[in-house]
């Protein structure tokens, strides 16, 4: 059992440079497990760079702790922004690669079963034997997401995981990710552009701009007309659905 005081993801003064320019500067936050945290902010805010640094694929300064200690690769799964995959591998083979550190010359039935289950859970079990380079962008995104979920990570970092999906699939995927976070207690962090989806599925939001944290907190605290105007330069109205979920309605560019 992890110490509750140290559980979750802690960032202290994280700075990431690309060339001579700091893309993320002095980012500090504490993220709890068991629910989704959404990174929001305008283009170039540093969301993807921060996720890459937390995943360990980009060098950074500062402190990143998972459950009070540096994370190790086996407990982290990171999905970068969607890029087309050209490999002649079937969807099942791609998901199997999510269990890379366990695979030997003969693939164990347990690994195959987990991979098939991950595809089924995202509603793409029927594509298991289809080559990924023949799938649409949205289908590829689902297969790659299944690949990350099959790792059963303690820390799941997703960069725009629903960008290529239709409305129905976006909701099913985010429902599935909420279930995963709740059932496993994992820290799930995702960059999202759709503020209404972020407000509906995330328990906390980190609003970034120009590489720095503007505000962090619950959706109601972060998604205010004033906050949206400051970050995005847009006048917006916050509406409520009949279920009480906030919906962000953009009105006009701020003057």
């Amino acid at each position: 059992m992890s110490d509750p005081e140290h559980s979750g993801l802690v960032l202290r003064g994280v700075t990431v440079a690309r060339g001579r320019r700091n893309v993320v500067t002095g980012m500090s936050a504490a993220l709890v497990g068991g629910s989704i945290t959404a990174l929001i902010g305008p283009n170039g805010a540093g969301k993807s760079t921060l996720l890459g640094a937390v995943a360990g694929v980009l060098p950074c300064s500062g402190t990143i702790l998972l459950d009070g200690r540096p994370s190790h690769p086996g407990e982290v799964a990171y999905m970068p922004q969607s890029t087309a995959v050209r490999a002649s591998l079937t969807a099942l083979e791609v998901v199997l690669l999510g269990r890379l550190d366990r695979l030997g010359w003969r693939v164990a039935a347990e690994d195959l079963s987990q991979a098939a289950g991950a595809l089924d859970a995202l509603g793409v079990g029927g594509l298991a034997r289809v080559r990924i380079d023949t799938l649409s962008g949205g289908q590829q995104q689902l297969v790659l997401l299944a690949q990350r979920l099959v790792r059963r990570p303690r820390l799941l970092l997703l960069d725009e995981p629903t960008s290529a999906l239709d409305l129905g699939r976006q909701m099913r995927v985010l429902d599935r990710l909420s279930d995963y976070a709740r059932q496993s207690g994992a820290v799930v962090v995702m960059a999202l552009h759709d503020l209404s989806l972020a407000a509906r599925y995330a328990s906390s939001l980190l609003l970034m701009k120009d590489g720095a944290l503007v505000v962090a907190g619950s959706p109601d605290a972060v998604l205010t007309p004033a906050g949206i105007r400051r970050a995005y330069g847009v006048e917006a109205e916050i509406l409520r659905t009949s279920h009480g979920h906030p919906v962000i309605a953009p009105l006009a560019p701020a003057s």
């Binding site: 995943a55 694929v57 690769p73 086996g74 799964a77 990171y78 999905m79 970068p80 890029t83 995959v85 050209r86 490999a87 002649s88 591998l89 079937t90 099942l92 083979e93 791609v94 690669l97 999510g98 890379l100 550190d101 695979l103 010359w105 693939v107 039935a109 195959l112 079963s113 098939a116 289950g117 089924d120 079990g125 029927g126 298991a128 034997r129 080559r131 790659l144 690949q147 990350r148």
Partner: protein, 349 residues
Amino acid sequence: MTTAALLGGYRRDERRRAILLAAACLLLAGICAVDLATGPSAMPLAEALRALAAGPEGADRTLAAILWQIRLPTTLMGVLVGASLGVAGLQMQTILDNPLASPFTLGFSAAAGFGAALAIMFGAALPVAGWLLAPAAAFVTTLAAAGLVYIVARLRGSGPEVLVLGGIAVLFLFQALQLLLQYMASPEVLQQIVFWLFGSLLKANWTSIAVLAAIMAAVLPVLARDVWQLTALRLGEAHARSLGVAVTGLRRRVLLCVALLTAGAVAFVGTIGFVGLAAPHAARALAGEDQRVLMPLAALVGAIMLVGASVLAKTLSPGAVLPVGIVTAIIGVPMLFALVLRRGAGERS
């Protein structure tokens, strides 16, 4: 589709691929037998196999000499060089993420040619056996070329663009040096240099076979250890990194393996083009990208292509043997065009 059905399907695919590997082994064995029976002096297949079974000290001294001193080393060298180029080409395409890469993309063959030319021109004074001089020099200069590319990769990162740019610089450097030597050479020496560059299995002997086999025995287990990482790299660098693959180290390690395989192959037989480009594509079309199957199959297809080209080289000009490097290039050019056109069509659609 149920999980049980998926598991069954995956195991069926595994069995199909195992059968494919076994079939490629049988085909290679058959082509090797035909290659042994083909040559300037007529020898029916049954007689060739009898002479093979009788051993190097067989009763028919002439047959034993032809088979054990000339044809068997040539055939075995064809298998080893073809397999080396097939694997080297596959891994070059994998680490450069480029379907048109081959073992020679980074200037390795130009470096080997320069080394051999240097040895042919200036090596007579050195206390080294004549037959060993050009191969040893070609081996060393190929590794030097790989070392230059490796240094560039260490300094500027191991991305495919950096590797290709570094390789192109190395290619032009050694090509220019090779041309300089050819310009300076006397007509007799120039003839020797050009003959070396042709690429011919007739240069094979048992020592060169042992050296190349030893290189393969050292390199292939290293690559075999990385089969899953190399398969993951085909998803693209960003995805491979996110799965925990140490891409930079993997690229450098594989680059050294490719350099050793290419240096070993080129040093003893000269430049043999297109096998390293076409064999991985053929293997990929047959077996997909799972490197547990793809790597051995690329080796087998490379060996089949080169020994097949050797048979063709001997039958195209009865009484003589064309350098196999010429035959593979003539067969390979249409294959390369077909690959380029197929890819172009795929991108348009």
